[in-house]
């Protein structure tokens, strides 16, 4: 268990990282931190993808290529997300997510 590395290890690592990211995303007030935590979650997914790429389909590179796309999307996401945060901040002078409850209506 401790000495040999199996796919299970990576899965658990990934799950733990995902859980930390999720916890942060739900409980932090600052919107930018939430974005950061979402990045953590995406990275957790990437670990999983790459790990299974190695253990299941090493020649086909499916996992790795998928991970590349995830990184791409994540980069785009954080770019747009930060831009939105900036705009909101400009109007509301706040990045506290608890101040934003417009979804009520």
């Amino acid at each position: 268990m401790l000495t040999t590395i199996s796919p299970m290890h990576f899965v658990v690592l990934s799950a733990a990282l995902f859980a930390i990211g999720l916890f942060g995303a739900i409980t932090k007030k600052n919107a930018i931190t939430v974005l950061i935590c979402i990045e953590l979650m995406l990275s957790a997914v990437n670990i999983n993808l790459v790990a299974f790429n190695m253990f299941v389909t090493p020649e086909a590179f499916i996992g790795q290529i998928f991970a590349i796309f995830v990184i791409t999307v994540a980069a785009a996401e954080i770019g747009v997300g930060l831009a939105i945060m900036l705009t909101i901040y400009r109007n509301k002078l706040s990045v506290d997510l608890d101040d934003f409850d417009w979804m009520k209506w």
């Binding site: 739900i26 997510l97 409850d101 979804m103 009520k104």
Partner: protein, 639 residues
Amino acid sequence: MVEFAMNHTWLVPLLPALSFLIIIFFTRPWPRLSSTVSIAFMLSSFAVATLAAYGVFTDAQFKHEPLVYAIRWFGMEGLNIDVGVLLGPSSAMMIFMVTLVASLIQIYSTGYMKGDPGYSVFFSYLSLFAASMLGLIISSNLLQLFVFWELVGLCSYLLIGFYTHKNSAREAAKKAFITTRIGDFGMLLGMLAIQIIFGTLNLYELGQIMPNFEDYTTAGMMTLIAVLLFIGPIGKSGQFPLHVWLPDAMEGPTPVSALIHAATMVVAGVYLVGRTMFLFVEVESAMYLIAVVGAFTAFFAATIAVTQREIKRILAYSTVSQLGYMMLALGVGSLTASFFHLWTHAFFKALMFLGAGSVLHALHHKADVWDMGGLIKKMPITGWTFVIGGLAIAGIPPFAGFWSKDEILLATFNEGHYLLFTLGAVTAFLTAFYIWRMIFLTFFGEEKPDNHPHESPLSMTIPLIVLAVMATVGGLIGTPMNPHWQEWIFFGESHHIVPNIPIMLVSIALAAAGIGLAYVLYIKDRNKANVKDLAIRFKPVYTLLYNKYYMDEMYLWFNHKVVDGSARMTHLFDIYVVDGIVNGLGAVTKGTGGILRYTQNGKIQSYALVFFLAVLVITILLAFNDTTSMALVLGGVSK
């Protein structure tokens, strides 16, 4: 020529219909042109009708077999309706009479309606009315007849309400339409039953089938059909208790009253019963019902007429009464007598209405007979023709009314309905009295100083003269000495009339007595003191009669309290119960939503939390339930 007219009898209603269209769409801005078009078409229709009638009455084969031709109107499996022409002696007589009277009335109207803003429209309505009425007469199919029946109703609605700016005209028109509509309801039911049971509505076919009706249905059903069908004529021909619309219909221009009350619309009911006689004769009780309704209506309306003051209202009740006579004749099985009276009545009643119109025209629509008097000096033609009409309706020989009324009384007597006969005889007395009361008050006696009457123009007096001639000689074709009428127009077998001299004498005596009483009360007694005394002494009776037995008030009460009341109840039920349930459901939904909305705080992190909670729950449910669902969750990991 004659052949052509008989095979194209549909031209008779079509020509006035065309004139209606022409006036409405083209000539409305030019009143003179409109009336000319209308009269020209009416006269050509009259010509066709005369030729057709000539053709019928010169060929003995039509005595028993009418000429029928029809085309399919619409149809489907189980319901086929034809439209066509049924030309027999009765319909030939009717189209001749209606086209003649309608032509005269149209000519009269050129004078009466002169200067009215709705002149053209008036003529278009008259044309449409004539078209509908003529269509009704020649219909070969009950549904076709019903179509024209309703169109006649529509036209009478339009004509009664012709003075659209008068509220009273509006109410009267509405009343006429709705009251006759109640009758139509019964008639429609009867027709439906006939269609369903016998599978056809063609009058001729029904006439063939009806003697063997037991192959189709029971006697009880036949009685029901007959009674239902009779409700239509009760409404249309102003029989008790649906007569109330008829006196109110006087709100229309006087030529309309003449057209509707004398020649056409009101006799449509009588005509219908005559047409479907084959059905009624199969049911003894229905015939008796008709006779009783007819006799009662005749008597009932005559008593009201005795106390009325407006000239046209008196004439209206007299129409109701005379229609009762016609029904009575039908009820005792004498189509001959009924149609004979219809024929003579058309002339003398049209004459009297037009005469009354002439009087109103001269007095600027002052209608109370007590405000008139001595008019015969200023208006000789109107006056003397009116007197002829009065003699005719009172039943003084040799004027037309005598022969037909005598025929009815005789038929009633011969059938053994002595009670009904008595009613009829008393009515004859009352008729003579109230008509002559009116004549004496209007045309004789002292002149009233504030009246400045003048004789009406030629266009109005010529129709009066023609009608007066007809009212004089029109009955001579059916006297006991000269029974042409009886040879042609009959149901079943033609009656060989045996003149009953005592009855004839009784009838003459009653008429003379009526006239005499009127003379004593209204001419001899210059101050009318006796009359006033009578009115005071029998005040309850007088008030009851003067208020027409409060029939109108009863209907009004029923309409306002019962019908409107239940309508209001329905409305409230709709708003508070039906809609209440709907809105209640809405409120429940809204309330639930109001509670649940607190879960929607609009904060995205809460949503994410709930989302992942759901993921968790689903995962647990799937993963730890059984092996297959676990495989589903683990996907490719599990083999």
